[in-house]
Symmetry: C2
Subunit: 135 residues, 2 copies
Amino acid sequence: MNGMTIAGLAKAGGVGVETVRYYQRRGLLAEPPRSGGTGLGGGVRRYGAEDVRRLRFIRSAQSAGFTLEEIGELLALDASHDRARARALAAGRIAALDAKIADLEQARAALARLADSCAAGRRGPCPIIAAFDPA
Amino acid sequence: MNGMTIAGLAKAGGVGVETVRYYQRRGLLAEPPRSGGTGLGGGVRRYGAEDVRRLRFIRSAQSAGFTLEEIGELLALDASHDRARARALAAGRIAALDAKIADLEQARAALARLADSCAAGRRGPCPIIAAFDPA
DNA sequence: CTAGACTCCGGACCGTGGTACGGAAGTCAT
DNA sequence: ATGACTTCCGTACCACGGTCCGGAGTCTAG
């Protein structure tokens, strides 16, 4: 069951082969030894369930707004058992998420008001610019 | 009152001079004729209240998640009175905002759960990876 | 054994939204 | 009218997260 090639890993993680290779370059995914004992030029790398787990973690953390650099730190922390630091990172990210969410909700409200007033009138310019004018 | 130079406009809009010039290149802001009637090499461009309004609009629309390209369309629409198209753009953006907000809220919840469980235990790895594992 | 598919790898390139650079020409206060 | 500060303009560069390229090596089916 440890016989996946890079294409299999990529598929399992829902990304492209090049993305996996990119994460390896960034140090987020391990580069297992290459098969083929000949030694000259090496063979093909094989991946297993642990690699898939790690790749999926990267994608999830990304969707939480972590940058790849932060994810690298998270991954290192997971190995090093530094819970305090991990919690600090999480807290920072939560605050950032809250701020971002508030921003987007404000924008959404402004946009909804705009669409409303645009639908209401029938002629003349849609009051788009006015709607966005500094309140 | 139409005597602002580019630095004044930039300041009024809360951006840098280079950003104003960038928007001009993108066609989002007009490039008024250059002063100094000599004609050879030209002089300095002057800006007024309308330019400030437009620049502020760009920043507001941007914070609502519109790309500069979409903002260009919005600006053109405002001039052309095509209310239906403007409403469609707004509706699309609102849907995108809703999706994004839902995403972030999900991420926030996951992260909060993580921070909790990390704070609860005292030794061993912080269950970061587990928390992000596919549900 | 050979063809075709897949892998490895470094480096170049992409889109988005700017930011920096550098020289020439314009403008303002003294 | 001299010196300091701006403006103008094209071009190059930045971060971010990939994405594509080309050539050599490897693996697998027939």
